[in-house]
Chain length 334, copies 2
């Protein structure tokens, strides 16, 4: 069943059918009705390849995410997916491994899938201008805030929280509760990831509050996985260092750490207070409930797509949206 068949059955030309299907203005009411009747009668669906071939574009919006197993991202992606669909586009999701080059992946996708736009989730922060120049479609970054100012602000949009400030706030909460020996649990190699920015917020807070940065209280985990945080924390605890609070740069890290703390006889929050950033669903069901600075994940997804659609339609320019985190006071904080 092709457009030709429809044309024949409706007694009009192929061009007319095409016009009807593309909502062109120059088509008579009667022709339109005839065509639509046949189309729905035979449940005709236009051939996407043929359409894309001649239009040299699709209705695809690419979403690139590094490590989809992280629930923080899936919560956002779920929202992005339904928003994209609602806007009449198609989401093309590409997950990449820890060592893959996301810019290269993106550039390939852009051509291969004829993307209208590209959304990045959880990218690194150390792109150069030249790298981003490879991307020739509207480009929106979620959870990425150009902290180091590498990028031309006009070249992309972003939707994120102020990671540095969120970390600062988290440490401040601990400080106000009287904690002074605050360990920090960070993840990822220090390559410009969100983890690094949050760590800098931690350092800034310590300095502001007159606390000496203690290298021994830095607990580096070389991934974003709960299991690795658990294991890393366990090993670190064996050193028997004195501390009274943990700031985890993500809920995942905190969840792993809490189990390790518990197994090492530390009660939370009596012996050690714990605070984190993210606000994933599971962390609310921990015991004790994790205190964390929640990111508005649904809103982030929604905003990202809204930005994207605005730019695709030429209605808006690239913008940078900073959303607010909100403290969820759990039981891991006195």
């Amino acid at each position: 069943m092709t457009i030709k068949d429809i044309a024949r059955l409706a007694g009009v030309s192929v061009s007319t059918v095409s016009r009807v299907l593309n909502d062109h203005p120059d088509v008579s009411k009667s022709a339109k009705e005839k065509v639509l009747a046949i189309v729905s009668e035979y449940n005709y669906i236009p051939n996407t390849s043929a359409r894309e071939l001649v239009k040299t574009s699709s209705d695809n919006i690419g979403v690139v995410v590094r490590g989809m197993s992280n629930p923080f991202y899936t919560q956002i992606i779920t929202e992005i997916g339904s928003m994209i669909e609602k806007a009449g586009y198609t989401m093309v999701l590409q997950q990449i491994g820890i060592s893959d080059d996301e810019i290269h992946t993106a550039a390939t996708m852009e051509r291969d899938k004829k993307l209208l736009g590209l959304i990045f989730l959880g990218g690194q922060l150390n792109y150069t201008k030249e790298q981003v120049c490879c991307i020739n479609v509207p480009f929106v970054c979620c959870t990425f805030n150009n902290q180091y100012g590498n990028l031309d602000e006009e070249a992309y949009s972003s939707v994120c929280i102020d990671d540095n400030q969120a970390a600062y706030d988290a440490v401040q909460y601990l400080y106000k509760e009287g904690h002074r020996k605050i360990a920090v649990l960070l993840s990822g190699p220090e390559d410009g990831s969100v983890s690094q920015v949050r760590f800098e917020g931690y350092v800034r807070a310590l300095r502001d509050f007159g606390i000496q940065l203690d290298e021994k209280l830095i607990i580096p985990i070389h991934s974003y996985n709960i299991a690795d945080a658990y294991e890393g924390m366990n090993i670190w605890l064996k050193q028997g260092l004195s501390f009274d609070a943990v700031f985890a740069i993500s809920d995942n890290m905190a969840m792993g750490a809490m189990k390790a703390l518990r197994e090492n006889g530390k009660s939370i929050p009596q012996d050690v207070a714990v605070i984190a950033i993210d606000g994933i669903e599971a962390s609310e069901y921990m015991n004790p409930v994790l205190s964390t600075l929640c990111q508005p994940m649904a809103e982030m997804g929604k905003e990202a797509v809204k930005q994207m659609v605005g730019i695709i339609k030429g209605k808006t320019k690239h913008r940078h949206i900073l959303l607010q985190t909100k403290l969820r006071t759990g039981e891991s904080l006195r």
Copy 2:
């Protein structure tokens, strides 16, 4: 940059270039080298639309999932995604809402995306043969086991656990620990979902162990969300019924319930033992650690794709794979 340009630059015909790119045998070594040199020099990527148009097929494998926010599914999808990629295909992920018709979605996708195959995650169990006939490509169901025998076994593949038996086993563990008043936390409307099958396993176990089924101990949650389980359990607990164990049909349900139990002064496992099915990552970091029958999620994803690829390549027929669950003894069980 089209195939014509490559042909011109390499001094061969368009046909030859096409043959090189498609690994046809009938092409000379010298021609092949010339073409490949130009291709890589100009970083040429063939136009997918044009290719799909003439071949009337793509390299897309569709994945349809109901509710992607459930971490149980995301863990499987992550695996499916990387396996599909590794096999040289492309994953096209479609999430659908609770009320969407997955068969209709699938059929549309099949045509629209020219799918080579379709993988279902978390489908209902009450399909009819006629419904499934709409799907004309290799069809693999993950976490669906044709419990009620509606479907022609030759018409699709499946990769799943024996849900009825897993539930039976869970109840048996509780029974062996001496529990007799076993509440069950189930989710979803009773429409043939996995929840229903597990519930039937619960009923069967009770019967086998000579325990009278008590309607009052059935706690229905009308979703698969943690939050709803928490709320539902909270309300149910207000009735003050006597019980000494909870069998939750999924980790999500258990996680919600555990928080409610805790807030109502019930200690786990002293007052109430809890067991579930799934084995999602977060449930291992609960306090107490949830005891649950773990599904081999990575293996399920891997098997599903393996099946799919085998069928696409015409090497294998539809098969039904039953994987084993494995008890993770946590602290929620004495």
